[in-house]
């Protein structure tokens, strides 16, 4: 029997299993191999909330979704083509995402009585046995048993053997998509370099899965996703938090500053701390503080000392930092505050993504306390955007908020990385013991035409000065209760933020015409879904364009003009119309919302439908 090979433009696979089943690793390895193969890829892991929720339950399901394609793609995909279900709960939790006619690869031993009960299927009614899966193509494999058989001579215990079953699945999928095992073999060899038995067993299981596809008579079709025509160059795969961490190190070096990172662990921001802590040989100082307030304060202290102070958290922790951020705004020192947003309010949905801290970023402080707010739109974009954020913070002597989110933070994509030389230097505006001196002594709050004050740090002779959170006299920085001075300073702090718009790029139309019926305006992690939806619709001849805001405060100077060129503006957000409110307030525009508040990314399909609906209405 010959096996046919069918060409596909893009495929979405969702690996789902119990948290102990190793689905995250399986997914990453498949991604890496596909990337290497020249596909464009995009991934999205979806962890359970508990460290290890009870085995076999829906709450314990861990998923890793990836899309790989022969064209460039921007998301991990909406509907799933292949759903790997290591147990019944994994199927139950994810079936709704599967495309009609999609493929289910079911590990039959994960559908035994116990597992069915844990997954809360009706009394012993297995979805594999009734006809509830009629619409799909179901491939049943007793993966556990096959793995056990393959490894019977491995010398490993039952538990260790069981742990290799993810490699069996992976091998099988490599077969299905016509992929080589090499890349993964190398990985396994490195990872288990010191544990020969385990190394051998994993490779054996991987191959067993591949050969199973190759030899087994049931499986007649293989698929092929050709390499995408990505721009030429050298690529690596990168996750958002990782890109953020690397960008921080690069920015600090480019500014000639020591990086000081004060943080308190919180999901989904902690990985930035973990990543940075691994790079001490770059002079990075990471400080796990006793809480978020201490973290931001330590970073402000470090900035006062002449380091580049950075702090990160997620919503609840950012709330705690608000008072100190206000102080930094008064200090007019560099400070970068990273918020990797998650589902809120309160503790909310810690392992889910959301964009609901935009208002908090812009307005969430007492008094008139404006700050620059900037958001990356994809995992690799975190790198460029965080460097931009650092540049603004350091060169303008202002605190900057960087609004990432769980989707970007944990997602990954291929990245045509730059060389370090391509990144422009960042230039702190240092004070100088001699040049900065005036007839009236040293004036720490004297400003240049950008309204930027100089950065005088301890150790600089003659420039001793004292700063605080009380209102300051213009120029001298001394405490001042003078009414007019207060108004002046409030306005200066606002203008300092506004002026940043003169130093950042104007907003551009990503796709579509420069004017017309409908502009889809996004920010942050909705980028990929909007790109995909709008690209499709433009191809279908619809009058729709896409623009994406990176600079949320201040807005790009031409934003008002751009908005005016469209009849309607649609703003998809993973929150309850936060950007809509701001746009409407500033431009009196009546922008239309597309809100989804489910702790999940908006899909391109949802955007597509909303666009069509909006176009039809007009």
């Amino acid at each position: 029997m010959t096996k046919t090979t069918e060409k596909k433009r893009d495929v979405v696979i969702l690996f789902a299993g119990d948290s102990g089943d190793g689905m995250q690793l399986t997914g990453s390895l498949f991604s890496n191999t596909s990337a290497e193969y020249g596909n464009d890829i995009s991934t999205f892991p979806n962890f359970p909330a508990e460290i290890r929720a009870p085995q076999g339950t829906v709450a314990g399901v861990s998923g890793f979704k990836l899309q790989f394609a022969s064209v460039d793609i921007f998301t991990a995909g909406d509907e799933v083509d292949v759903l790997v279900s290591m147990n019944a709960a994994a199927l139950k939790a994810n079936l709704s995402q599967l495309k009609r006619g999609g493929t289910i690869i079911a590990n039959t031993s994960g559908f035994d009585k116990k597992n069915l009960r844990l997954a809360k299927y009706g009394d012993a009614e297995s979805p594999l046995l009734d006809d509830s899966l009629e619409e799909y193509r179901v491939i049943e494999i007793d993966i556990s048993k096959m793995t056990k058989e393959a490894l019977v001579d491995s010398g490993l215990g039952a538990k260790e053997i069981e742990r290799c079953k993810n490699m069996f699945v992976l091998g099988f999928l490599y077969w299905m998509y016509n992929r080589k095992l090499e890349n993964t073999e190398v990985f396994i060899k490195n990872k288990f370099a010191k544990k020969q038995q385990i190394m051998d067993a994993n490779i054996k299981a991987l191959k067993a899965g591949y050969y199973f596809g190759d030899t087994n008579e049931t499986f007649t079709s293989r698929y092929e996703v050709e390499s995408a025509s990505l721009p030429e160059g050298e690529y690596r795969s990168i996750m958002g938090n990782q890109a953020t961490a690397l960008g921080l190190i690069v920015a600090a070096k480019k500014a000639g500053l020591d990086l000081f990172y004060g943080s308190y662990p919180i999901t989904p921001a902690s990985d930035i701390l973990h990543e940075l802590a691994r790079h001490k040989n770059y002079g990075v100082k990471t400080f796990q503080a006793e809480d978020e307030i201490a973290a931001v304060c330590a970073s402000i202290g470090a900035s006062f000392g002449g380091a580049f102070g950075v702090t990160a958290s997620s919503g609840p922790g950012i709330a705690l930092k608000a008072e100190a951020i206000g102080l930094a705004i008064m200090f007019e020192l560099p400070l970068l505050v990273i918020n990797v947003q998650r589902g809120g309010p309160s503790t909310g949905l810690p392992t889910k993504t959301e964009q609901s801290d935009l208002m908090q970023a812009i307005y969430g402080r007492n008094g008139e306390a404006p700050m620059v707010v900037i958001a990356p739109h994809s995992p690799s974009d975190c790198f460029d955007t965080i460097i931009e954020a650092a540049r603004i913070s350091i060169e303008h002597m202002v605190p900057v908020m960087f609004l990432s989110d769980g989707y970007i933070a944990n997602g990954s994509e291929p990245w045509k990385f730059p060389s370090a030389d391509d990144i422009a230097a960042i230039k702190p505006k240092w004070a100088d013991s001699e040049k900065s001196m005036t007839d009236r002594g040293y004036l720490p709050y004297k400003r240049d035409e950008k309204l930027v004050r100089e950065w005088a740090i301890p150790g600089m002779k003659e420039l001793q000065h004292r700063i605080g959170g009380l209102e300051k006299d213009d120029e001298t920085g001394n405490v001042s209760y003078d009414p007019e001075n207060h108004e002046k300073m409030v306005k200066i702090r606002q203008q300092k933020v506004d002026i940043v718009a003169d130093f950042v790029p104007e907003i551009e139309i990503e796709q579509g015409e420069d004017s017309g019926k409908l502009l889809v305006l996004g920010w942050g992690s909705t980028y990929g879904a909007i790109m995909t939806a709008v690209r499709e619709l433009i191809a279908e001849g619809k009058p729709v364009s896409h623009a994406h805001i990176r600079y949320l405060n201040p807005f790009p100077k031409n934003l008002g003009d751009v908005l005016d060129r469209f009849d309607k503006v649609l703003i998809p957000e993973i929150n309850d119309r936060q950007l809509v409110h701001i746009i409407n307030s500033k431009f009196l525009k009546g922008a239309l919302p597309l809100s989804k508040i489910q702790g999940m990314p908006i899909t391109s399909k949802e955007i597509r439908e909303k666009i069509l609906e909006t176009l039809n209405e007009s």
Partner: protein, 338 residues
Amino acid sequence: MTKNPEDYTSKDLATDQDVRWCPGCGDYSILKQMQGTLAEAGVAVEDTVFVSGIGCSSRFPYYMNTYGIHSIHGRATAMASGLKAARQDLSVWVITGDGDSLSIGGNHLIHLLRRNFDVNVVLFNNEIYGLTKGQYSPTSPKGQVTKSTPMGSLDHPFNPGALVMGAGSTFVARSMDRDPKHMREILKAASDHKGTSFIEVYQNCHVFNDGAFGVYTDKDSKAMTTIFLKDGEPLVFAGEEKGIRLNGMKPELVSLSDYSKEDLWIHDSSDRYKALMLTEFFDDQSKEDALPRPFGIIYQEDRFRYEEAMQDQIDKAVEVKGEGDLDALIRGGHTWSV
């Protein structure tokens, strides 16, 4: 013209700002002693930073001709941690009040102490919130009538010495605004200590809590209520008439007519158990048989400093992996070409 630190006088440590404490406030005396101490410390003013929170006491940095941070309520210790971590070379002082450091800032204080950053913390204890006009503080004695406690406060107060010992402090001392000479000695010793120095200064709030420490500072009562600790010397007080001896595990107040100095407890600031006991000398002085309140260096220990350990790791990382190369960082472990 930049002066040599060796040539400083107190004046070189003063700023041109009007000092704005109430007339009669104990803060003036502390300021004066600090300026005097630093004039002699041999550290350049530009290498010194004062960090404070919010409170009357926290106005202090404005009056020191060094670098200074007047931060937010309770957070001076946290801010100083980051500053010191970033800049080992600086001499960092934290000025704080009993509300600032023990109420809202309690957590940062105990964490600073356990980490043992090399900074000096001077706690101005006036047993009241001065700046907000007279509410009780975590050191106010139970029953104190204040604006917020018209029927008397209900909180059992902190014993600051005991608290900081429990938090792992490596230098614990006590002094008072009314004893300039002693204060100067202690400030000097704190500045010499490597690690976090914790100095509690009894400070009179003339307006809202006048005379809170009268029994310790007034000429009439001082001799009977205070004991000045000196390493290697016996615990004597009351003009050498009384002393403390250790009766097994219990401190005992004795008369020097019954015992000789050799029988007494000999102060040893490196002895942790004794120090713990000394911090328990916290009696209300109106009590019969109250133990006198100890002043001086209660405890001192040499322990690694956080910022040094931090730098050591960086140095080690560089040694092992080599100075970081940006391109290597950006490339990461695994790349492919298209």
